[in-house]
Amino acid sequence: MSSDGTGTAERDWPLYEVFVRGKRGLNHVHVGSLHAADDRMALTHARDLYTRRNEGVSIWVVRSTHIAASTRDEKDPFFQPSADKVYRHPTFYDIPDDVPHI
């Protein structure tokens, strides 16, 4: 509990973000968050909270404080410029039937 070095988390377990990969899923998907004292406990909690209905075969957990996120203020400069660039989609090619995941 004191491994974060802040000394202020004596009573409250840190927050973790949970990512689960479905049985035939290709990637881990963010499913929610939870509290845990350490990485090992975060994994068992994630197993108990987010895969109890047979949703997944693989779990990632990461301390929420370790995630760098874009902010609301950056929304326009980050994302607006791509809104009208339809030519960035490779829709002008014929994709062969046997090429998966496109």
Partner: protein, 293 residues
């Protein structure tokens, strides 16, 4: 174009939909989980020649009673566990055991000559008819007791199920084989907490010592396992004690010597704590016999 983007956003909001992608379970799917398996799928329910049905029924009953009573104690942690996450973890373990109890009671009814269904075993028997080990019925005094009890019972049950997975009766063997993965997790959960608490603070260490002292007088009955599990008792005892020694050593704890409490739950001799537990468990079923959802 913008309509397409909105549609994609809406789908992404339901993260479990993408987890469930590619599943074709159709009507078999409920909530978000998919791909459920029937643990008895393809298992022949005929009793093989040479199997003593009275012995088989007694084993199923005792294992079912252990599981049902443990599940009830674990369910009592709902709204009382130290953390929300632990509450769900304990409830999950209880539900695993409840699933085992249902299969074992159903098998018991098939082989003991009464033809009773699982509900008859859970809801209409009196405390004297139960054959669970008394350790399962003791009330939880604190989280440390819950951890120690779970460590002992899951270690013993896992050692036994590992052997019953090759039992002559195909149903008992299938139930045991399915239970091994569940019990491995239960034991790991309990062992993780035993390490954290035993090797934690002064207070957590003190509580673990107190819990071990409270459990020790009932350990002999668990390990003795007579009469139902006499055939496997010695090997299961050794494996269970080896696991407990390993976990407790790492946790800086030890198993205190204690005089056994007279009597045995395996013969229907229970503590005063079982009757109130069953009264709560059975109250709705007894008030509304044969009621259905």
């Amino acid at each position: 174009m913008s309509d397409d983007i909105d549609a994609i956003d809406a789908t992404d909001d339901h993260v479990y939909l993408s987890l469930a992608e590619g599943h074709d379970d159709g009507a078999a799917r409920w909530a978000f989980g998919t791909g459920f398996e029937d643990p008895l799928h393809g298992v022949d329910t005929a009793v093989p020649d040479g199997v003593d049905t009275a012995e088989l029924a007694a084993m199923c009953l005792a294992l079912g009673d252990d599981a049902l009573v443990c599940a009830q104690r674990l369910a009592q942690w709902c709204t009382r566990a130290p953390e929300l996450e632990e509450e769900v973890a304990l409830a999950n373990i209880g539900l695993d055991l409840l699933g085992q109890a249902r299969l074992l009671y159903a098998r018991c009814g098939q082989v003991d000559g009464t033809g009773r269904g699982e509900d008859a075993y859970a809801y209409t028997r009196d405390p004297d008819d139960f054959r669970n080990t008394r350790l399962a019925e003791l009330p939880d005094t604190d989280f440390a007791f819950c951890v120690v009890r779970l460590l002992v019972l899951s270690s013993w049950r896992l050692a036994l199920f590992g052997r019953l997975a090759s039992a002559a009766d195909p149903v008992l063997a299938a139930v045991a084989a399915k239970g091994v993965a569940e019990l491995t997790y239960h034991r790991q959960y309990a062992a993780d907490w035993a390490l954290r608490l035993g090797d934690g603070t002064e207070e957590s260490h003190r509580r673990m010592r107190a819990a071990l002292a409270a459990v020790a007088p009932y350990l002999g009955e668990v390990l003795d396992a007579r009469p139902q599990f006499a055939a496997h008792a010695d090997a299961v005892r050794q494996e269970t004690l080896a696991v407990l020694d390993q976990v407790l050593l790492a946790a800086g704890l030890d198993l205190p010597a204690a005089a056994a409490v007279p009597g045995s739950g395996r013969r229907g001799e229970h503590t005063e704590h079982l009757a109130p537990l069953l009264a709560e468990l059975q109250s709705v079923a007894r008030a509304h016999p044969e009621a259905a959802w």
